[in-house]
């Protein structure tokens, strides 16, 4: 029966390590983009887009990644998909090292990890009916065209679009919300285990955003998916995520369970980010901005803790030494801040312990 082919199997035959094995573990991921200049086009500097990022995603959970522009969250997404090659770092997918001898190949990994981008229009082929766009992946992996299109129409139903009305349409005949539903259907076409959503709802109107978020949650439950959800919208990330990772200038500054991060943020940057949200209540307007200035340029990031130039608690130790996050591959609530480290030499450190 065609309709049941997308139901989550009780035991996924692709599951290697069992429920305790994290679906994805990333260790010390780095990507420096070269800046070329001068007559000879030599590399004159590097944008340190992702600088030593480690985290773990458990099976069936949603990891939210938040941060401001230039913090490296989208580069992390592209590195996970190998749309750009990392300079350093190890990526383990369900117990198997990606792209290494004895591990899983990048192509095999991509069958199980799919991505949805922010710009719903430019990620669809304008000259292809949307059902063919959805069927493209399965055909490329060897499915018969008729079977792939039948499956695409089934997926259209799943994302809330009537295949009779929408299957033959071209992207320009659809609204932004409908196009994003198509992108989600296409991501599902290869029956992935993990979907990376890079600002997938950010370009949508508020009334449509809520619809797509509900759809993502329903699909996740039904198909046993694992999400990495990247967004600058703190409200949306809290609603959808089990755990949240906060990035600043290419580094992870805090990671932990969503509620712990939102109710008890440990890093001054996370606190500032949360306090910068507009209040939604005219009687609680902010009088003072939590931090001043813009995020610095990731070409020459500040020494030590990268937030020290804007941090209200900065002390000499903060510019001298970079704080460590500790074991980021665990599941606790961690923050890379000298005030959280008793032996760091920061005057507020002992008070907090």
């Amino acid at each position: 029966m065609a309709m049941t082919s997308f139901a989550a199997d009780a035991a996924d035959e692709r599951d290697r390590g069992g429920p305790q094995q994290p679906l994805l573990t990333v260790t010390d991921l780095r990507k420096y983009f070269p800046i070329r200049g001068g007559v000879l086009g030599r590399t004159v500097a590097h944008v340190r887009a992702v600088d030593g990022v480690s985290f773990t995603v458990r099976k069936g959970e949603t990891l939210g990644i938040v941060g401001e522009s230039g913090c490296g969250k989208s580069t992390v997404a592209r590195l996970l998909m190998r749309l750009v090659d990392p300079d350093a770092g190890e990526q383990v997918f369900d117990g198997e090292a990606v792209g290494e001898q004895g591990g899983i190949s990048v192509a095999q990994m991509r069958r199980q990890v799919q991505m949805v981008f922010q710009d719903s229009a430019s990620s669809l082929n304008p000259r292809m009916p949307v059902q063919n766009s959805i069927a493209f992946g399965p055909v490329a992996f060897g499915a018969r065209r008729a079977d792939a299109v039948a499956m695409a129409r089934e997926l259209l139903t799943k994302v809330g679009l009537n295949p009779v009305l929408f299957g033959g349409r071209y992207p320009h005949e659809l609204s932004g919300g409908q196009k994003q539903r198509i992108n989600i259907a296409r991501a599902l076409a290869l029956k992935p285990r993990m979907i990376i959503l890079d600002e997938a709802v950010s370009a949508l109107d508020k009334s449509v955003e809520a619809q797509v978020l509900n759809l993502l949650q329903a699909l996740k439950r039904e198909l046993n998916l694992t999400y990495v959800f990247i967004s600058h919208d703190l409200g949306v990330v809290r609603w959808i995520s089990d755990r949240v990772m906060v990035m600043y200038l290419g580094e992870v500054v805090e990671i932990g369970p969503a509620d712990a991060i939102y109710t008890g943020p440990k890093h001054p940057y996370t606190r500032a980010l949360l306090a910068s949200r507009p209040a939604l209540d005219p009687d609680q307007r902010r009088e003072e901005a939590p931090v001043s200035g813009d995020p610095p340029n990731p070409v020459n990031p500040p020494s030590g803790c990268r937030f020290h130039t804007r941090c209200p608690h900065a002390e000499p130790v903060c510019s001298a030494r970079a704080p460590s996050l500790g074991d980021a591959t665990g599941f606790g609530h961690l923050a890379a801040c000298h005030m959280q480290d008793a032996g760091s030499g920061h005057t507020a450190a002992s008070v907090l312990q």
Binding site: E68, S69, S175, G176, G177, Q178, D205, K206, S207, V208, E209, A210, Q211, L213, N214, Q217, A218, H232, D233, L234, G235, V236, R238, W239, I240, A258, Y262, A272, L273, S276, R277, P278, A279, L280, D281, P282, D283, R285, R286, E287, E288, A289, P290, V291, S292, G293, D294, P295, N297
Partner: protein
């Protein structure tokens, strides 16, 4: 009684192309008193930016048909010739945009761009204009202002560039500032800085501001009054507190309910079903009727007239009772 600064009466804007005729703004009326901050709240395509551009006559003349009345500071904007328009823009009304990079000339130093505006409107020398630019950079709290005057737009960060554009807009002390999503492209920690700055400057200078946004939180931070736009019409206006606490129009209520803000995670978000209408084929009655939970047969017949159930509050919905008799 002071005279209103802005009076817009039954404003409609049609964009005419060979294939279609789109009514982007459809009978919008509002008045604003001096010193008031009004937020135009609406989703993309609701006509909020087009209304702003109509106020400054920035729409392409050949392809847009504007009807209705626009009076700013007692002058009929529709009747102005090019010379009068040049005088009004910058001096009486000025505008800031979402993307300051495209609003500045990329090959002229920002200080010189501000000096040029001041010299033109005030009839002073370029040098005096530069001095004014320095004062303005201090006013908008740009650090190391003197050095930043010599910067080109691309050399400034997003937040500084937006501050520089605010300085440019305020250079001739306009009575009305039109702000078209000026914080949407900014990072969260920078957005709140710019919002607080704009609020302080508005209070210090006593100017009126029309602030276009799609973000309820931004409206809550800055507005005195909110006008909610849907499909080219203002569907509800009211003081910001009342409107956010007890929305009258089902669209406003739906927008509030579907904005993600600390809702419980185990439950689905409330949504407005469907999508905004195609502006080329608007439904005959209330434009929101196809998505409305309170829709009835009467909604599809005529466009609902404005009703005012409380002083200062107006909604265009047949389901909102006019609790108090309306005084003209």
């Amino acid at each position: 009684m002071t005279a209103p600064l802005v009076e817009v009466e039954n404003l409609s804007v049609n964009f005419v192309t060979r294939e279609s005729n789109v009514t982007a703004v459809n009978g919008v009326s509002f008045t604003m008193m001096p010193g008031e901050v009004m937020c135009m709240l609406g989703e993309s395509g609701s006509g909020k930016s087009v209304t702003m551009r109509a106020l400054m006559r920035l729409l392409p003349e050949k392809r847009s048909v504007i009807t209705g009345g626009i009076r700013i500071a007692g002058q009929d904007v529709q009747a102005m010739n090019d010379r009068a328009l040049r005088q009004m823009r910058g001096a009486t009304v000025s505008m800031i945009f979402q993307e300051p990079m495209t609003a500045f000339d990329p090959v002229v130093r920002v200080g010189d761009q501000i000096a040029e505006v001041v010299a033109l409107h005030r009839g002073v020398s370029h040098k005096a204009g530069r001095r004014r630019a320095l004062d303005l950079f201090d006013l908008v709290r740009i650090p190391s202002a003197e050095r930043r005057l010599d910067a080109y737009p691309h050399e400034l960060s997003g937040g500084l560039r937006q501050r520089a554009m605010i300085a440019l807009a305020l250079s001739c002390e306009p009575k009305l500032l039109l702000a078209d999503e000026p914080t949407t492209a900014l990072d969260a920690t920078v957005q709140i800085q710019v919002l607080i700055l704009l609020r302080k400057l508005q209070q210090e200078m006593g100017m009126s501001v029309i602030f276009v946004t799609h973000d309820l939180g931004v409206a809550a931070e800055i507005a005195d009054r909110v006008a909610v736009m849907y499909a080219g019409r203002i569907v509800e206006t009211g003081p910001v507190r009342d409107l956010l606490r007890t929305p009258l129009h089902p669209y406003t209520a739906g927008l509030l309910a579907s904005t993600v803000h600390d809702q419980p995670r185990d439950r689905d978000l409330e949504t407005i079903p469907g999508a905004p209408p195609d502006m080329r084929r608007l439904p005959p009655g209330c434009s929101f009727a196809p998505r409305c939970p309170k829709v009835g047969g009467d909604c599809l017949l005529t466009v609902p007239p404005p009703v005012s159930p409380a002083p200062g509050r107006v909604a265009r919905c047949l389901r909102v009772p006019a609790a108090q008799p309306e005084f003209a």
